[in-house]
Amino acid sequence: MIIPELDSLIEARLRTLAEARAGGTKVVGYLPGGYVPDELIYASGAIPLCLIHGGEARSAEEALSLVPNVICPFARAQIGETLLRENPFYTSLDLVVVPTTCQHFKQVGDVWEHQGMVDVFKLGVPYDCQDDYEVEYYRGRLSELKKTLEHLTGNSITDDRLTEAIDVYNRLRRLLKTLSLARRDQQPAISALDFVRLNHFSMYADPVMMGDALEALCSSTPAVPPLPAKRPRVMLAGPALGFGDYDIINLITEAGADVVIEEIFEGIRDYRHVVDGSGDPLGRLAWSYLHDKKPAAFVRGATRKKIDFVLDLIKEFDVHGVLWYQLLCCELYDEESYLFEKVLRERGIPMLVVESDYHNLAVGPMKTRLEAFVEILQGGPVDA
């Protein structure tokens, strides 16, 4: 554990949230995946919270009173958390922004709207960005969101405030990227679990304070011994990794390998892109968030680009195998896994597909599969 005070930081964040709300500050939640610009919420004076809890069967099951189990457990967990009303991050919301990035999230937005649990803004994200009209559509929806936020908070989102917010989040992304790139070392100074937890915390934390903490971390010598050498290096790929959904990382670590890079859609802040350029800040946000970054699985034509990107990461991070962690009933990743497995096999890179519904991941058969995978990465079973 590189930052032992993370838990206490979370508690402190909850206290400041309560105080801020009592003082009239609005809290705006949004679903993850990297298509809702925090910058816009932050510039309105509201507190942005990325709703990222997952990994617990209880919240996913709670949602079964409203949606069937063909909705993925992460999406169900978002509904479940609002139903359970126990998680302060989910009970403090004045508005939720739901990006239409997959059918599962679309349904979360519909159910929240139908139940009247919380005010919902559905942020239409075009599935393609070949033409100007698609970026223009997204920009139009961001413009509507801007108006909604201004109405909610009573604050005007000026270009200056938005530019300032872009700078704040660019800094956050750059620092997370720096930390991530440090894991290219053969003996990385930060474990996957720590990196993922930092990433998750960045979705709840005040971005300036988080930036300060990350800056301090990046410039300090790690207080913990580096990871042992000669262990297989693994990429963790998949649709979602919720706050608390850490069994898979713990299990692969216990099995004898280290996750050194993640290619996760929902649950890892997209730290690889920055909002560049000058001029109209809303237009810059639209271009950057929709067009100028690695496309997610739901984007049309993304598969080949994702494969190339994963191959680049494998090379850059000296990855020996890919652990494909998909959630039950996620049709996009299930389909993709076929092609990724085929392409990686042709290159001699083993890939293991693991599926979770947030039930009993840490049981015998899964441990056995992961141990066998690590054995293969180490050169095959001893008795093979």
């Binding site: 069937p68 239409t100 997959c102 059918q103 679309k106 519909d110 803004f121 559905k122 049709e331």
Partner: protein, 470 residues
């Protein structure tokens, strides 16, 4: 074979022309004499083969399948394939009517109706897709997309140059696009809109229709590059106009089925009617299609005039959510034998803005006129769908609702519990909800379904009095 083709309404002259073609197709698909006997038995059991309109409709479907399989043999240079693409049948009619050698096919509904409904031989198509990337099991991929992939992978369809799908309700088919491109080397495209309507906007869908129209126009431009054939707006207008009588003729048939008591035709036909109307006919072939609908309409009107029905008068009126099964009429047949009358599917309805023209934002753009599907029930958000379903139940005097939700479609399946609650609270009529796949005959479990339907019927009896059985 002669007897089979006669049963399917082919006259002597047509039989002479079609026999060698259909024989060739049966040979390629491995359809044997025994299969033909099975098909005859299924046709007599599930369909009203006393009606000339039904016989000819089934014959048309068989011919459409034959035309599709033999496209390359009969001169097609480029084949464009569509799946899960509402409105693209108009584009298909535009191309098929104006190009000599580029052919547009929209085969899923025809093949499920013929290979599935008629011959009961559809499972191997689905299994082929499951062998590839649409695996079976708990992930529950959509049978429609499996149909698409299976028909191509098995080589049942002619070699395809370009395939198009939409992501209006779906992530599975667009993702399969990309994998097909990699695995089969087919140029694959997707047309989209965005599902971000808030309930407060209902029934406005202009953002979705405009985006969809731009995407469809872009695809037309792509086709020009891919096939060398230019599709201009005049062709699209002509295709729209040419196809209009098909919709009107089908509406007449559907209306007489929906509004007559006793019901003049069993609900097993509803899927075949929709498949028959959907094919991307050449403009010159459309009058014959309309004539088949009109023949059927006249036959049904005659039954109504004589007070003849296929169910007793007063049979409970059922609305189904999601369409009838595309590849297997056994479920509708089971319902029918239990004395229940499926009068419609929620997919047949809309907010009304498509039909009235109120949803058209640019009357000068044929693509905008075509892309009105976001007004339909399946294109709505959950709240919009509930509004339409409740309205339909009230207008049609529905006694009970069956939601056999197509589990492969997350968009549809996820609405189930909220719709059930709304129907129970607002209308107080029974609703039976269960999971199935609209394209997979393996969804049919007679003992399980019969038990559910008995209970459902009992609930309606409690609510309304005795239900008569056939």
């Amino acid at each position: 074979m002669h007897e089979f083709l006669e049963l399917l309404g082919f006259d002597e002259k047509e039989r002479q022309i079609q026999l060698p073609r259909i024989s060739e197709v049966f040979s390629r698909l491995g359809i044997t004499e025994a299969d033909i006997e099975t098909a005859k038995a299924r046709l007599h059991l599930y369909f009203d083969m006393d009606l000339q309109g039904v016989r000819r409709m089934m014959g048309f479907l068989l011919k459409d399948m034959t035309d599709t399989v033999l496209l390359r043999d009969e001169g097609a240079r480029k084949v464009v394939h569509a799946c899960m693409a509402p409105g693209f049948e108009v584009l298909g009619t535009a191309i098929n009517s104006n190009s000599q050698d580029v052919r547009f096919i929209y085969p899923n509904f025809t093949f499920t109706a013929v290979l599935g409904g008629m011959f009961g031989r559809f499972v191997p198509v689905l299994e082929e897709a499951e062998r590839l990337w649409l695996r079976g099991g708990v992930v529950r991929h959509c049978g429609m997309v499996k149909t698409r992939v299976g028909l191509i992978s098995l080589g049942i369809l002619p070699r395809i140059d370009v395939t198009v799908t939409t992501g209006y309700l779906c992530d599975t088919s667009p993702k399969s696009n990309e994998i097909m491109q990699e695995v089969f080397g087919i140029s694959a495209y997707c047309v989209d809109h965005v599902q971000d309507r808030q309930m407060a906007e209902y029934p406005d869908a202009s953002r979705a229709t405009v985006l969809s129209a731009k995407g469809m126009r872009r695809f037309s431009d792509i086709l020009q590059k891919e096939t060398g054939f230019e599709i201009d707006d005049d062709m699209m207008w002509q295709a729209l106009e040419a196809r209009r009588p098909i919709g009107e003729a089908m509406d007449r048939v559907i209306d007489v089925m929906r509004l007559s008591d006793p019901a003049p035709l069993a609900s097993t036909h509803l899927n075949a009617l929709a498949a028959f109307a959907r094919a991307p006919y050449k403009a010159g072939d459309i009058p014959a299609v309309v004539e088949v609908f009109d023949t059927l309409y006249a036959e049904l009107q005659e039954r109504v005039r004589r007070g003849v029905g296929v169910l007793p008068k007063g049979a409970p009126r059922i609305l189904v959510l999601c369409p009838n099964h595309h590849a297997e009429p056994r479920f509708e047949h089971l319902i029918h034998t239990m004395g229940l009358n499926i009068v419609a599917s929620d997919f047949n309805f809309s907010s009304g803005h498509d039909r009235s023209g109120a949803g058209i934002t640019d009357p000068g753009d044929p693509y905008n006129v075509i892309c009105q599907h976001p007004h339909g029930t399946p294109g709505q958000s959950l709240e919009g769908r509930i509004v339409i379903v409740l309205d339909v139940c009230r207008r049609l005097g529905i006694d009970g609702v069956i939601d056999h939700y197509h589990v492969g479609c997350r968009y549809m399946a996820a609405d189930t519990l909220a719709i059930r609650d709304a129907i129970t609270k607002e209308l107080g009529i029974p609703i039976l909800a269960f999971e199935w796949d609209n394209f997979d005959p393996r969804s049919y479990d007679e003992s399980d379904l019969a038990t559910k339907l008995e209970i459902f019927r009992g609930m309606m009896q409690t609510a309304q009095g005795t239900v008569k059985t056939c």
